[in-house]
């Protein structure tokens, strides 16, 4: 490993830019179809990275590969400076405590209440009194902007926006350092989506999170993200701020960021 990242004990270094997730020459495919081919990407500690790409180009595939849900064919992924392939199982479990995932459709356990959903990882990994777990679950529920009585509801009783918030609360259950968000604002109305963007921003600043956000939402990209990475032709074709994206010459990036909707948004 060329990158000898210092141990993460000192929290002050979190503000300095250093890659917390490092993907190199990643190849992922199903059968004879190659989805990602030679993809490289760095996610810096303490940033919100927005990841864009056309539908079906493999945005979720990258997330799921980093999370270990999909096998990769080639390439290296390191998280917190450790290569995932060289990591023993025990280390891997420890790593899983340090990231939280919010799935696109929530993936809340349907037979558990929202509060119980949040407590699932707590019960698994932490030694806490039941009273404290209830208290922390209630705190997380309020932090994501849900009413406190939402904790006793089942996922089937929640609206789409509430499911997103509950899923975010569960992703934050263990106070992770990295949060993966898969299309956090899809299916929300513009006001709800804007609130969600602000929520992510606030939580990121309060809890010192690194956020990897797969999104389609131009508003999210403009208002919540520090940097944007664009996926096209099976690899990351452009990385940078919104203005760098607009200046990009890649045809897909151009049509995405200089389309009518994008221009209307950027002017406004």
């Amino acid at each position: 490993m060329p990158d000898a990242t210092p141990p993460l004990a000192a929290p002050d270094t979190a503000t300095l830019p250093k890659p917390i997730i490092r993907v190199r020459d990643l190849v992922v495919g199903f059968g004879d179809k190659i989805i990602l081919d030679g993809l490289s990407l760095d996610v810096m500690a303490g940033e919100i990275l927005g990841f864009v790409g056309g539908s079906g180009t493999g945005k979720s595939v990258l997330t799921r590969t980093i999370l270990g849900l999909i096998e990769k064919r080639a390439g290296h992924i390191s998280v917190f400076g450790q290569d995932l392939d060289e990591m023993p199982d025990a280390e891997r479990r420890k790593l899983e405590k340090r990231w939280g995932v919010m799935f696109q459709h929530g993936a809340l356990f349907s037979s558990l209440t929202v509060a119980q959903n949040i407590q699932v990882p707590m019960r698994e990994y932490l030694d806490l009194s039941p009273a404290m777990m209830n208290d922390l679950a209630a705190l997380k529920i309020q932090m994501v902007g849900l009413k406190s009585d939402a904790g006793e509801k089942y996922p089937s009783e929640l609206s789409g926006g509430m499911i997103k918030r509950a899923a975010l609360a569960r992703a934050l259950a263990l106070d992770p350092e990295i949060v993966f968000l898969d299309e956090p604002t899809s299916g929300l109305d513009p006001i709800g989506a804007a609130e969600f963007d602000i929520l992510i921003r606030t939580l990121q600043q309060t809890l010192g999170l690194t956020v990897f956000m797969v999104t389609h939402d131009l508003d999210s990209l403009a208002s919540a993200c520090d940097r944007i990475a664009a996926l096209a032709d099976r690899k990351v074709v452009a990385v940078g701020s919104l203005s760098e994206m607009v200046a990009s010459t890649h045809p897909w990036v151009k049509s995405y960021f200089r389309g009518e909707r994008a221009l209307a948004r950027l002017k406004g």
Partner: protein, 379 residues
């Protein structure tokens, strides 16, 4: 991680009525209960003071648990009349503490007494049982109307669905049902021969097996297998469609879910059950014949001749007459339970279990009623 974990701790230094509490180490979730008991201990070791300064500059890492505990601590001390002041908080720690402070703890509802819980449970069950009955009757009514509609306009009937269900229920279900009744036929014949031999009445095993198989055994085994195989499948299919709002999608397209999902299934069951019962009867008799031959020494031609003289059309038809009624019982229960599935995976499991258990129970109850009915009309 190759990092040294600094245990959380505190140090108290006193200066008259004022105490400085220096917190240090990692106040994070990793320290869980240790941190909790630490926070409980602190006010005790603090003793009587008027003013307390919480110096949190020594805290290396802080997360929501730590922040929550510090917040609770200052609340607790405050309620004891100590004026608490937070000092030397790092910027990021201050933000987190601020975020935690803004939220008030929710008071958990006190649990009800177990006696009330039990009584409430019993009451709820009784009410649900009553509702079940009413719903069952109204559902069968709905199905009858839907079948009537299908008869009036057969061109709108879903033939493909019916054929598909027939394949699933009858064609794919037949082998296992035939095998089971064959084996049970063997067992009943063996037991019969074993007991009757003592009276020198081995030949009567043909009467025993013939009547019991045709009137009861084949039908009951069939109904139980169909409830387990097809009833559970109906409940799971309809239930998962309900969960994903597919039933609602049908409704808004102007399609009646009873027409689309229930009628083809129940009709398929009504057609399949007599067929399966007939196959099961034959398999049972065949098994009994084989056992009688090899175990009881009754030659096949003797077995068949005796069967012919004992069994008349009535015995044969009793089983077949009951079959469609069992089909309606199983189908209606399975579909009702499927429609009752709520949003969760757990509820799906509960309804499938309920569907199979209720169907088997009702099959046996209905069989008992038929036994009384046929006895009283001497059929």
């Amino acid at each position: 991680m190759p990092q040294t974990i600094a245990s959380p701790g505190f140090e108290i230094s006193r200066d008259g009525e004022r105490a400085v509490i220096a917190l240090g180490g990692e106040w994070t979730l990793d320290h869980g209960r240790r941190l909790e008991s630490l926070a409980e201990q602190l006010p005790i070791s603090l003793g009587e003071v008027r003013r307390a300064v919480l110096d949190i500059s020594g805290i290396q890492r802080l997360d929501t648990l730590g922040a929550r505990l510090i917040d609770q601590l200052s609340h607790e001390l405050g309620s004891e009349g100590v004026s608490v002041e937070l000092a030397h908080a790092r910027r990021e720690h201050a933000t987190l503490l601020e975020a935690v402070r803004a939220r008030t703890a929710v008071v958990a509802r006190p649990p009800r007494s177990w006696l009330i819980e039990i009584l409430a449970d019993i009451g709820r069950t009784v009410v649900f049982a009553g509702q079940d009955l009413v719903r069952g009757v109204s559902f069968i009514g709905e199905v009858v109307i839907a079948i009537g509609r299908a008869l009036i306009r057969p061109q709108r009937f879903r033939w493909a669905a019916l054929i598909n269900q027939l394949e699933q229920i009858a064609f794919r279900g037949a082998p296992i049902i035939i095998l089971i009744t064959f084996l049970v036929g063997c067992i009943v014949a063996q037991q019969g021969i074993f007991q009757l031999r003592r009276f020198g009445a081995t030949a009567f095993v043909v009467d025993l097996v013939g009547i019991i198989t045709l009137r009861e055994l084949a039908l009951l085994l069939c109904a139980i297998m169909v409830a387990g195989r097809s009833g559970s499948a109906f409940t799971a299919e309809i239930g998962s469609m309900k969960m994903r709002e597919e039933i609602d999608a049908l409704r808004v397209m102007g399609l009646n879910p009873v027409d689309v999902l229930v009628v083809p299934r129940i009709l398929a069951l009504i057609i399949a059950m007599p067929i399966l019962t007939f196959l099961a009867s034959m398999a049972g008799l065949f098994g009994a014949g084989l056992t009688a031959w090899f175990y009881g020494g009754i030659a096949p031609e003797t077995f068949v001749a005796r069967l012919q003289s004992v069994i008349n059309y009535r015995h044969f038809s009793v089983g077949l007459i009951k079959a469609p009624f069992m089909a309606i019982v199983i189908g209606a229960i399975a579909c009702i339970e499927g429609m009752n599935v709520k949003g969760s995976a757990e509820s799906l499991g509960q309804q499938v279990t309920a569907s199979v258990v209720k169907a088997i129970f009702m099959v046996i109850v209905v069989d008992g009623l038929f036994a009384m009915f046929f006895a009283s009309i001497r059929f």
